[in-house]
């Protein structure tokens, strides 16, 4: 049972990553936050069906079927969230990875602080973030002011979790 749950959850994860790669090749980067959430919800439904089929083939009417299916789906969700926050998030949003990328491209010539700042600086970072927040519907622009939309969102949840961690660890 252990093997079947792990196998089906990882298979669903690989399918999810493959679909995510295809979808993300064609999206507008300003809508990346919305695309991540939509792909995760869609991935959960697809994984649920895929795991159901695998369990039907291997377990039939076994008493383990429903419990196993719930656990495998839960494991898939954890794997997918870990992949998004740990790997995709690093590639898409990490400042360090972007800076390392610029230094890496300079090869043996290297870069000093001024050259790094010419390629990547606070203006580029803020512009990109505002674009993403507007694209995700978290923020809107009214005249020359940026206004936070007052609604529940995954980003707000992520932000609140971060604030909670800061409080828990006295930072």
């Amino acid at each position: 049972m252990d093997f079947l749950i792990i196998f089906s959850a990882f298979l669903a994860l690989f399918a999810y990553i493959a679909i995510q790669i295809i979808v993300f090749r064609n999206i507008d980067r300003a809508r990346v936050i919305r695309a991540i959430i939509s792909s995760l919800v869609l991935g959960m439904f697809s994984a649920g069906i895929l795991i159901w089929i695998i369990f039907k083939i291997y377990l039939g009417q076994s008493q383990f079927f429903y419990f196993g299916w719930i656990v495998a789906l839960g494991l898939f969700i954890l794997l997918a969230v870990s992949y998004i926050l740990g790997f995709f998030g690093m590639m898409a949003a990490s400042l360090r990875v972007r800076i390392l990328g610029e230094i890496y491209k300079s090869q043996e010539r290297g870069m000093d602080h001024d050259e790094i700042l010419k390629k990547y600086n606070k203006k580029l970072i803020v512009d990109e973030r505002l674009l993403r927040l507007i694209g995700a519907g978290e923020v809107r622009k009214d005249g020359d002011k940026y206004i936070l939309e007052n609604r529940f969102s995954v980003f707000r949840m992520h932000h609140n979790l971060y604030v909670l961690f800061k409080k828990m660890y006295c930072n």
């Binding site: 980067r29 839960g74 400042l95 230094i103 010539r109 606070k122 990109e128 940026y146 660890y169 006295c170």
Partner: protein, 170 residues
Amino acid sequence: MVYILLSLFLFITTVFCHVILHRFLVTRQIRTYKTIYIFGLGFLLTFGILVYFSYNLAGGTGWDMQIPITGSIIYALLSFLFYIYFGNAYLGEDSPSARIFFHLEKGPKSYEEIISYFSDETLIIKRVRNLKDAGLVREEKGRYKATTRGKFMMSIFEIYRKLLSWDKGG
């Protein structure tokens, strides 16, 4: 389900111990990232307990089906997600989006106001130093170059980036 509940219980217990330990050390003026290793111990304990249960529980129903490895993987994944949040809180580095979010919660802001909350020093230069401390870049006469480790890491991200057709991240 017994295994999953046990795994969740042990994870929450480890989080609780970690918070207590970290706060205790902070009161003693000790700030260390190494407290995170407690999750390694927690993982070994979880794995041991779940394997022990698998030899001592009948496992005949859906409720007590024997899934010690799944339970351990769930513990490891939860610890990994916890590590991401703890790492950011420990370093005191709000993501730029989170900082924009934080300021906009106080009221509407203009572009000039938003950009004034950031500096190149904290966003870029500090992170270049972090990369150097982590051994991903080296400094030679004021110029930064990627180390072998840094090159290896970037080559993986480059392949992934090409797969996604993304020119740049960040």
